[in-house]
Symmetry: C2
Subunit: 332 residues, 2 copies
DNA sequence: GGTTGGCACTCGACTCTACCGAGTGCTTGC
DNA sequence: GCAAGCACTCGGTAGAGTCGAGTGCCAACC
């Protein structure tokens, strides 16, 4: 825990650095509001803060830069939870009032909205389909050996999975498909999708094979990810290599989804640099907020930017968007 | 039309510039294979080529750089249609042998494969759903005023659209939905999706409203776009602003889809710089190739890179991938 | 004793200069 | 018509000098 003076000095350094992206000197800090001491005193304190690991010096005779620990302390203790400015808040409200149509498109648009609010890339994981209620089930034959399981969920999402029939008697007749569809419908409609895995086997052997194959696809069509504002990444880092790495990460949906899950599981709202656990994101920070539908958290809204992003702004934006998104999905 | 000597000089400049990204001087050109004259002669010829608009000089006393017209002449007359190197060809073959499962994931993976082959971003438009044959139709109620139209197509794709009921009697009962589903099924299954727009109206008024609303969604779920290798964009241009612009374009699916369609309609296989018609892509070139399923072109495979991309390589990669992709989709 | 003003020192950023070399255009000779 | 030679251009680089923001430390002060 830092005493008041050190805290306000750290805050001044972080906020100034976020603003200017330049190392911050004792002079600037001394003239910052909330710091009422001379630059000499600030220097002494900054030396201590550096020794304690909150600040770093790019080189002698340069100003200080926050370390990961510095940012961490800042978001944990110093960054007041502000709210969005009027115009942005209005913009968000208008967006959610206006938006309509398919879930997917809405999430794509939402990620772009969030990117616009924060000036960084934004990602959103779709509500997991496992917990949604099944409205309709259908097993459609595509080829003799493959069928498509299409499940319409109450939130307007569609779960689809290829059902492959392997084994000695792979062929399935249309009658088998119809029977299997009827069976699945009986045991699934009105229930949650995750009960797909535990649908009882029907009497007929051929139908049972189909149902079992369909059941195996439970969870196969994993969480979907919606990414927006990738163009902002280009401006966020000066090293091309970093830009490349970050874009590379964003292309791998699985990696990002498990990253979000992992951070959330650790109870974090903000992951800074190495806290993300991904080497490629060493210079990035992630600000996230789960969103709830009917009181239950079902997905995550997040922002991915450089470590020197505006955390207050990002936290506010992520909070508002996740809140509105959850509300929007609840009423649908 | 250029005489032989000018042509080989232009070729040398283009290929050298593609390789090094540096202005090419008369000395380099003179020592290039295929050019058997002295550098002084080359200088004279290059002056002519510059005057004719094929080359440009960044500044006096620097080498020459190809203009758009230069690249255009190069791809039209000088770039031999090479083929992929053994390893890459093998890689592509292995990919298509190995890949399986849902259409969407396969196209995502294919775009990434293509990006890997060419070192630039790659885009693929999915087969248009209009011409696919309907396997199954279902109208599922989501709320009292909205339903989801889910159509499973023979190629394994799914067409979905939100059906909104507006007007004086917006409510639809489950019976109405069932009746509408049955009606649609009768008139659609086994036919092409684009006949959705011309399904005859059923007798019952409420059902007719539903069917009409569903018919209106024809074509609403437009062509899908799959983008891969966005991270390569970062390395392709030195100006951050350009990177940002290109990424921005790639985020707008509609823009890219119509760009591809437009270029294809003009009968081009390569669009260079301003030929794309997009200001943001002034420094980009697009290399594309339609792919065919059962003899009919159904989608496009393309590569988006800097104007100084390796056109021979890109053309070969795009050709092989579109070919294999078409074959793969035909057999499915 | 904590705080502050003062001071010497450091070191990156910027400017200026000179210079090098790749490249050109032109002229002349073959 | 081609090639060799030559004067000229001009961006890029290297080195010297300067500037200034910033530091650490010390002594004085309240």
């Amino acid at each position: 825990m830092l005493d008041d003076r050190k805290a306000s000095i750290l805050r001044a350094v972080v906020e100034e650095y976020i603003h200017t992206a330049q190392p911050v000197g004792s002079g600037h800090v001394a003239s910052a509001p909330g710091v009422e001491v001379s630059s000499a005193t600030v220097r002494n304190e900054m030396a201590t803060l550096e020794h304690d690991g909150y600040l770093a010096q790019p080189h002698t005779s340069a100003g200080r830069i926050p370390t990961e620990a510095g940012y961490r302390y800042y978001v944990d203790h110093l960054a007041g939870r502000g709210s969005l400015d009027r115009a942005s808040a209005q913009h968000v409200r208008a967006f959610f009032d206006r938006t309509h149509g398919a879930l997917e498109q809405m999430l794509v648009d939402t990620s772009r909205l969030l990117a616009g609010l924060t000036g960084t890339a934004a990602v959103i994981t779709g509500p997991p389909q496992e917990i949604a209620v099944v409205r309709s089930v259908q097993l459609v034959g595509i080829t003799a050996r493959a069928a498509l399981l299409v499940v319409v969920l109450s939130n307007g999402a569609i779960h689809k999975a290829t059902v492959e029939l392997v084994g000695e008697h792979p062929e399935a007749t249309d009658e088998d498909l119809t029977a299997a569809t009827a069976h699945l419908r009986r045991h699934l409609e009105g229930r949650r999708l995750d009960s797909l895995a535990s649908v009882p086997a029907p009497a007929d052997a051929a139908v049972a094979r189909l149902v079992a194959a369909a059941a195996r696809t439970a969870g196969a069509d994993g969480d979907h990810l919606y990414v927006g504002g990738t163009d902002r990444v280009a401006g966020a880092f000066d090293a091309v290599e970093t830009v490349r790495e970050v874009l590379g990460v964003l292309e791998q949906q699985l990696v990002v989804v498990s990253l979000l899950r992992d951070v959330l599981d650790r109870g974090l709202q903000v992951a800074i640099g190495s806290e993300t656990g991904l080497e490629n994101l060493a210079e990035c920070a992630l600000v996230l907020s789960p969103y709830e539908v009917e009181g239950e958290p079902v997905g995550t809204v997040a922002v991915l930017g450089p470590t020197r992003m505006d955390y207050v702004q990002a936290l506010a934006a992520v909070a508002v968007v996740s809140n509105r998104l959850g509300r929007r999905l609840s009423e649908g």
